[in-house]
Symmetry: C2
Amino acid sequence: MEMESGWLWIKGLPSRSLANTYEIYRQTTKIATDDPRKLIHSFKVGLALTLVSFFYYFQPLYNSFGVSAMWAVMTVVVVFEFSVGATLGKGLNRGLATLAAGALGIGANHLASVSGKTSEPILIGLFVFIQATASTFVRFFPRVKARYDYGMLIFILTFSLVSISGFRTDEILNLAQKRLSTILIGASTCVIVSICVCPVWAGEDLHNLVARNLDKLGSFFEDLTAENFRPWEAAQTENGSGVSVTRLNSVLDSKSSEETLANFARWEPGHGRFMYRHPWKQYLKIGNLTRQCGRRIEALINAYLNSSKTQAPEEIGGTIQDAFSGMISESGKALKEVASVIETMSRPPSPNPHLANLKIASKNLKSLLKSDFWEGYSNLSQVIRVAAVASLLIDIVVCVENIADAVNELSSMAH
Amino acid sequence: MEMESGWLWIKGLPSRSLANTYEIYRQTTKIATDDPRKLIHSFKVGLALTLVSFFYYFQPLYNSFGVSAMWAVMTVVVVFEFSVGATLGKGLNRGLATLAAGALGIGANHLASVSGKTSEPILIGLFVFIQATASTFVRFFPRVKARYDYGMLIFILTFSLVSISGFRTDEILNLAQKRLSTILIGASTCVIVSICVCPVWAGEDLHNLVARNLDKLGSFFEDLTAENFRPWEAAQTENGSGVSVTRLNSVLDSKSSEETLANFARWEPGHGRFMYRHPWKQYLKIGNLTRQCGRRIEALINAYLNSSKTQAPEEIGGTIQDAFSGMISESGKALKEVASVIETMSRPPSPNPHLANLKIASKNLKSLLKSDFWEGYSNLSQVIRVAAVASLLIDIVVCVENIADAVNELSSMAH
């Protein structure tokens, strides 16, 4: 039995490795076609690294290659990130932290060396311990973590290296100057290649992500046509109705990626239509409202799919159909319009026709719910789903209005 | 005007810097009391760094200090992470990537050097470019990004350093051996300190996070007493009712932290009640169900707070109050019990009394909705909120049952 399964394992090896190779090929083409910038980024890293290597390869200091060039290569590998903002942030963090920690480290080293031969190692050990403990703790501060985490890491590293190195002060200054210049060369190569060759701006990514999420909600509503969204009929399964909430998951889970992009965007210089101090925070606000709206849409679909399976009387369907499909299509249009206002960075139309329609439709639906139209349907289960869907729709209209307000604010801030 | 504001700025400086100092003090005590392990972690980093520094400080090779000890210090600073899993993962990534890239780099260097003096730099440049491009692209693969991102970084770094270094092969082997041994010393110091001094296990954190989120949902329900949750009365504002959905936000936004912890947990050796190959994936499943349940609770509260402001007739309140408060308190108890099953890693009681009660209550409510109890309330707006809340409650019971099933699965997997 054991042997047989072993034999089967060996027998299956060629076909499995073929399948694995195919899987890798499939993933590669998928990533490259989904976002060609990832492929370009890989070439950019290759380019920057080759440039820095050549710079040191052809230097007259070929023999003393080891240490200094190493720092340049290391800087390129570690600092080069996907977006300009991340690269700039890491580069600045690395440069400034090296400078600050180097100066402090030299001071600590000097202090320890004048204190006498026996107490020197103890003092240095104490300095390293206190500094590492304090800096590591500071990394837990939320604001430091968001923007200066890498800088703190480099600070700990440089301080420890400089303060424990047993060099004399003049030697150390020479070393520090060399190290700083190589880091400068590495970091500026990264930044130049990152900005000059097909730049990827985190701010633009954030901008597009927020617009795309709004657009997704809009498309979701547009696909809720009278064919697959009929709360006045007996409920269908998720598959049967053609309505799938899983499409919304990417919108609902976008919070952390939006925050990361906003943190990177703050490092970026103004460019194109995104000037310095572009209101990135407002994007986060719109993103939060978008997710709230998405969660309410999910609730709407759940109420539609999960509640009782009985059918409402014919007449209800007729009267309510216009109200529902009008609200859904106007919500979809309003969301798509708001998305395109962000995308094109245009001024929103004022007054917004879709929003005005939505307000009227919402008001009508409210008064319909209060009217005596429902009289005579004594069996509540017949109308409950319609009623629940109606009240959730009214909620969603409020969400859409909030989003439109936030986008108006953004547009007046950015212009 | 300009000058005056400048003067005000200077005048405000002492009080502002005092305020800043106080703010830093406040944050420090807050972080240290919220999670004392963060403070301990800082001391652990200080300890590991001091140990490694002393090791090299007192070595007989004091003069050749520079390069090799640097690698050890650097390894400690970069590899030491908050949890054991993250530290082990980074350490293994660093070690294995250095080994693999070092071997390949030596090969590339040798290949280039036998090809002749003129083609050598071109070939090396080509190797570095191809390797950096390919490895950077591989980092975008989702599975590589989750577990081997740091290893790929070190791979690019080491390969570039080794292949462009102009050393002879015997020298390079000597250097490689030295570098590997220092990395080994640094990484094992990290792992030993991380495991032996108050270890922080990512798996335990994940376990507690999942249990705590379930517990939060349970407490939320427990706080929804008959005093502040009365859907049969006129709606109140969020503040007026004492019901706040913002409490649920930390649960709704926990997806990315759960995934990070699960990735770290897979690196951790078995310990205590968490054996090797503990079913970490099942925690993610429970986490997803928890968030789904949280979103439905949010929908419930929104339906309660936002819908029409009219009051339902007295009699409805009386009849439905028992059904609602029973379901809510049983849901709360069931969720809290499930949370404590996870927390204590005990076997869930079978049959679960709260779940059985919930099923009966849900069935009763369903038949109440279908009954002719509602006859005579022709004004739908009077009962619509009650009806919407009822159907959302029935949905939530389904969610709670799913969570209980998933926890049963987890418990049978882990035992």
